[in-house]
Amino acid sequence: MGVVQGDQMVLNIGPQHPSTHGVLRLQVRTDGEIVSEIKPYIGYLHRCFEKHSENVTYEQVIPFTDRCDYVASMNNNFGYVVTMEELMEIKVPDRVEYIRVIMAELNRIASHLLALGTYGLDVGAFTPFLYMFRDRERILDIFELTCGARLLYNYMWVGGVSHDLPKDFERICIGFLDYFEPKIKEYNDLLTHNKIFLERTADVGVLPPDVAINFGVSGPNLRGSGVNWDVRKDEPYSIYDRFEFEIPLGEGEFGTVGDSFDRYWVRVCEMKESIKIIRQAIKDLPDGDVFQTIPKKIRPPKGSIYRRTESPRGDLGYYIISDGSPIPYRVKMRSPAFTALSSLGEIAQGWMLSDVIAILGSLDIVLGEIDR
């Protein structure tokens, strides 16, 4: 008499699946509903960003960075131009810095709205998703007003920005913030504090802090595990050291520190902090010419640089090597979602199939950035 043994089944989630957030394939070994092993397969959206960059000039790389993390294009542009300016030792005017911070933080809100909305969708709540998209549209309207594009902006340039702010930008932006701030409470009532949602997320997919650091997880995912690390605070770039804001950390309010709920909750709190930053930035917005420091020809000196910035998904690093020509020798993008996804196999092991979807959603991956 042997022990009754269940057969294990190999299940392919994706590449076409409603909740893989793009084209991702998860090879899942399941025992009934329990998942015993997960192997992510990526590369379905590989567009050779790094190879492309070696064949175009420095300013032409910016439209390609847009398309890496298409949900937070402004932050991608920001990271690239900050790195380039450090390499070329350009000091941009204050107005440009303020505009960039406002745009980056607006885009952080937009990106988090998408992340939270799709997370609600992953656990089955449809309506919050549409509410959040409704508000995200308003942010995209602001971007359209500013630079004419809604999704892929190519707004920040090395040494400046492509368009100055429209005349009544401040009024519109403050109007949006006043509209948006109470909405966060509505989302919380509708989704966050919903008992079913708490049951689905609290204590699910716990990512302990040391594992998170070891896996290079960054951004809200890392802070959800309770590690106080935010590039904006700890390695301030641009003018983030001028603003007062807090770094929300996961506290394990309803379960263990580092569970899916904490990662979700950190994002909700970060939206509030972003609102704070935008309000301060709009208050201090100086006058000035935004085009004056844009170099005629971008020809950085020979050398290499690695710089990371805080994108909505985490530490977005650019490794740029210049050989003195107008074409980059090598551009490497260290994408935060890439490392976050690599940890999925570790944290989602032993959970149920439904939890795997919930954990994947809580990591907030964007496949465009993972595959580049």
Partner: protein
């Protein structure tokens, strides 16, 4: 319009009982089928509109027939139905063909024959059996077999997952539902649907209609347990794990398309109506008017029954567009650790209440 009346009428014409029976059943079946079809269109339209309103949009709209979906999008469900009928019917090569074809019909039959015992008003009930409510509970779980057949025969892992989940779910949630119905049977002392409704005439507590839900606090609880278990039996959010689209693509229906999928769709809505129908009959006074004594003619009875049922269907739709989905084990927890013990205690509670105060 009961089968019995028809058979008696046929008996007057001549002595052919078997043929009379078949004819009577057929004559009853056609209107029921038409009713389900029309009701499904209305329910789909309602679902589209209600969900849209809840999500800050207006749903299907149009500026008149021929443009888009007609006035207020009224033609949208018709277009949906047409699309489903005209779509190519795909049977996967590796599917078990016979079971694959059979499954949607079994699911539909399970929902369809349950309509036989639903009392739409004082007269319209196809068969007023003396075990009516028991019959409905029995046949409405027939659909599980069809779902498992669908999941198994599709030869698709997602379908299998969905089928297994839905089987476990439906079988489990039968228990609290049945336990809550026992409360009703205890109070009314009959299994006949019309008998249960007739028991609920008059007043209770002075002002409230004598519906079972208002008779004592335990029956009030029993109604909610029954209704939520019913929602679970219909596989609707927050209990829609069998077809959880973000996890299992479409569960047991993944491989179905066209007409066969339409049958699953139809039976889902039919099931919703049955659950609402039982809840209305057993707890909300069926075709009784909310103000006892007035507006109690058969025509008003139909109106009351339908409006009560439609309200419960609206609540189901409301649930669906508000809540996230439960996980499989949590679903079972809710059933076995939440509903079943409470429903058990409920039976005692109702019994004691009835003895002490009734």
């Amino acid at each position: 319009m009961t089968v019995d009346t028809l058979m008696n009428w046929f008996a007057k014409l001549g002595d052919f009982p078997e043929l009379a029976f078949i004819l009577a059943v057929l004559i009853c079946a056609v209107p029921v089928f038409l009713f389900i079809a029309v009701y499904a269109l209305v329910a789909i339209y309602g679902e589209l509109k209600i969900s849209s309103f809840m999500q800050d949009k207006v749903g299907p709209m149009g500026q008149g027939v021929g443009l888009h979906a007609g006035k207020w999008g009224l033609l949208q469900p018709v277009a949906d139905a047409l699309k489903l009928i005209l779509k190519e019917d795909i049977i996967p090569t590796s599917a078990d063909k016979k079971l694959f074809i059979l499954a949607p019909f079994i699911v539909f039959i399970g929902a369809f024959i349950a309509f036989a015992a639903l009392p739409f008003n004082q007269n319209i009930i196809i068969a007023d059996m003396n075990i009516g409510i028991f019959y409905i509970l029995a046949v409405s779980s027939l659909g599980v077999i069809g779902l498992i057949m669908a999941g198994w025969s599709s030869n698709n892992k997602w379908s299998l997952y969905g089928a297994m989940r839905s089987a476990a779910q439906i079988v489990s949630y039968e228990i609290p539902a049945a336990l809550s119905i026992i409360v009703v049977i205890m109070l009314t002392g009959t299994l006949s649907m019309q008998g249960i409704i007739q028991h609920q005439s008059g007043f209770v507590w002075g002002i409230l209609p004598n519906w079972i839900i208002f008779q004592n606090p335990f029956t009030f609880l029993a109604f909610f347990i029954f209704f939520i278990s019913g929602v679970a039996e219909c596989n609707r959010t927050p209990f829609d794990i069998p077809e959880a689209e973000s996890e299992l693509v479409a569960g047991a229906f993944t491989e179905y398309s066209g007409m066969r999928y339409a049958f699953f769709f139809l039976s889902e809505y039919a099931n919703m109506f049955i659950v609402s129908g039982i809840a209305v009959t057993a707890f909300l006074g069926g075709w009784q008017s909310p103000i006892p004594g007035i507006l109690n003619s058969p025509a008003w009875g139909l109106w009351w029954f339908m409006s009560k049922a439609m309200f419960l269907i609206f609540v189901m739709i409301w649930f669906r567009w508000t809540f996230p989905r439960l996980r499989v084990d949590q679903l079972m927890n809710v059933c076995w650790k939440g509903f079943t013990p409470i429903a058990m205690v409920n039976i005692f509670g109702v019994g004691i209440w009835h003895l002490m105060l009734g």
